[in-house]
């Protein structure tokens, strides 16, 4: 009988597929994962402390930096929290613009998340390149509206920074022509691909009870078969005015998460089309004219959450009556979704770890804060 030894391998902090500086201390028996300990904090900048030293408005650009793929979604959650805290009304048109931006963000995020996941599986950039192409188009739109591609800093308390420029809607309509083609093509490229099936089916299974008890949210939870989507569960903004479906998975493996993300892109496109229909009739301007830059909310606390592309993104704010938040807490979806990582990886191969991690879709800026 040969004597065997378990090997401890550090995957990360500098590793091609840890999506940033993230370390997994993996104990392997041959190629099989025996144990996994996630180690993070390499990107920790004490975001919450920084935020407590800033005024409410000054925090807006910092929220961009949380999940740098979805700055619009972060902006939305934060703006909602402050609006709840200070009791600021948002005009209808601004709400529609917000929904439009966040749904575009969702498409953008899922396109690149799927691409990155397939990249982790070893495809040489192709699905990612296609995803990035769509992402670039959406970023062009963001740039038109907000002036920046990634760090949009577009939302303000009581609305958005500026109204949509005239060239925005025509370009968006053109983009909507390309989107279904892109999604269909992605499905043709990957959905029935035998290699992808081999790598994704039955990998990283998260049963639905386990998923729920771990508190994961977003496509990971839905991939496990629980139709929980904040947009439907507790409709915020104007989401109760749109028809859209919630895709859920059957098994809760990597393949389900992949399919859920693809379907969510379709649903987001549906929402955007409805926004475009309803936007011209929306009342109000792009921002509540009464909303001021120097917010001084009364003493109290508020929590606002949205369905960010990665899961439930919440902001908990406590005000002491001054112009700066007394406590500012981010409920970061990618951070919490990492909780079951060890359990999802145990028993699979080393090569599966990166795929499972890719299927959770994390952004270290948000995990480490």
């Amino acid at each position: 009988m040969l004597q065997t030894q378990e090997l401890q391998v550090n995957i990360g902090p500098q590793h091609p597929s840890t999506h940033g500086v993230f370390r997994m201390l993996v104990t392997v028996d041959g190629e099989t994962v025996v144990d996994l300990k996630p180690v993070f904090g390499y990107l920790h900048r004490n975001h919450e402390q920084i935020a407590e030293a800033n005024t409410y408005l000054q925090n807006m650009p910092y929220t961009d930096r949380l999940d740098y793929f979805n700055s619009m979604a972060n902006n939305h959650a934060y703006a909602m929290a402050v609006e709840r805290l200070a009791g600021i009304e948002v005009p209808e048109r601004a709400e529609y613009i917000r929904v439009l931006m966040v749904e575009l963000t969702r498409i953008l995020n899922h396109a690149s998340a799927v691409g990155f996941m397939i990249n982790d599986m070893g495809a040489w950039q192709t699905p990612l390149a296609f995803g990035m192409r769509e992402r670039e188009k959406i970023l062009d739109l963001f740039e038109m509206a907000s002036g920046a591609r990634l760090m949009c800093n577009y939302f303000r308390f009581g609305g958005v920074a500026r109204d949509l420029p005239p060239e925005f809607i025509p370009n968006l309509r053109e983009l909507l022509v390309a989107l279904p083609a892109y999604i269909d093509e992605l499905e043709r490229l990957l959905r029935d691909n035998e290699i992808l099936l081999q790598r994704a089916v039955g990998i990283g299974i998260l049963p639905r009870e386990v998923a729920l008890s771990y508190g994961v949210t977003g496509p990971v939870l839905r991939g496990s078969g629980i139709p929980y989507d904040v947009r439907k569960a507790e409709p915020y903004s104007v989401y109760d005015r749109f028809d859209f479906d919630i895709p859920i998975g059957k098994v809760g493996d990597v393949y389900d998460r992949f399919l859920v993300r693809i379907e969510e892109m379709r649903q987001s496109k549906r929402i955007i089309e409805q926004v475009l229909e309803q936007l011209p009739d929306a009342k109000g301007g792009h921002i509540n004219p009464k909303a001021r830059q120097n917010v001084r909310p009364p003493v109290g606390d508020a929590y606002a959450r949205i369905e960010s592309p990665k899961g439930e993104l919440g902001f908990y704010l406590v005000s002491d009556g001054s112009g700066k938040p007394y406590r500012y807490k981010v409920r970061a979806p990618s951070f919490i979704n990492l909780t079951p990582l060890a359990d999802m990886c145990r028993g699979y191969k080393v090569a599966d770890i990166v795929v499972i991690l890719g299927s959770i879709d994390i952004v270290m800026g948000e995990v480490d804060r």
Partner: protein, 173 residues
């Protein structure tokens, strides 16, 4: 979609776990200013749970009320009042607004029973709270620093943590 107001939740909790609830006085966040308008007191409507009964209350919320999604544990450092407040936020998988349980512990001995053995969702939340605030979760299986390095001293999110090394405050050009 189930909805439960804080008062209703308080009543349910009082019926099921009579010892768990505590009454707290309104809290002043900052020292009263010498002049000008006084800021209000902080007194949220949510039920406050005694730390010893936290696990029972949380499991009641999950198993009996069905709020099975532990979404968030936020710690707030009320330096002036001398206490930490832990805000537990639960949601129902069928949707609807969430419910909140609050726990207050003194700043000098911040000890709360850990939810992690019963409810793994609390794992990272509790580690984060331990790392940044120094709240000790008794019974947590792996209570280690999560963001800061292990040798780090102090708890950076506490209000009395010194702010130093600032580019604009420290050093002269």
């Amino acid at each position: 979609m189930p909805e439960m107001s804080p008062a209703e939740l308080r009543a349910r909790l009082a019926a099921a776990l009579p010892d768990a609830l505590v009454d707290v006085a309104p809290l002043a966040m900052t020292p009263p200013p010498a002049h000008g308008p006084q800021p209000g007191m902080f007194h949220p409507p949510d039920p406050f749970v005694h730390p010893d009964h936290l696990v029972a209350a949380a499991l009641f919320v999950r198993d009996t009320l069905g709020y099975a999604l532990l979404s968030d544990i936020a710690v707030v450092d009320y330096l002036y009042a001398g206490c930490f407040e832990l805000v537990y936020r639960f949601y129902h998988p069928s949707g609807g607004p969430g419910i909140v349980l609050r726990v207050r512990v003194p700043r000098d001995a911040p000890q709360v029973p850990s939810l992690t053995p019963h409810w793994p969702a609390a794992n990272f939340h509790e580690r984060e709270a331990f790392d940044l605030f120094g709240v000790e979760f008794v019974g947590h299986p792996y209570l280690r620093r999560i963001y800061m390095w292990d040798e780090f001293e102090g708890f950076p999110m506490r209000k009395d943590f010194p702010r130093q090394g600032d580019k604009y405050l420290g050093g002269d050009e």
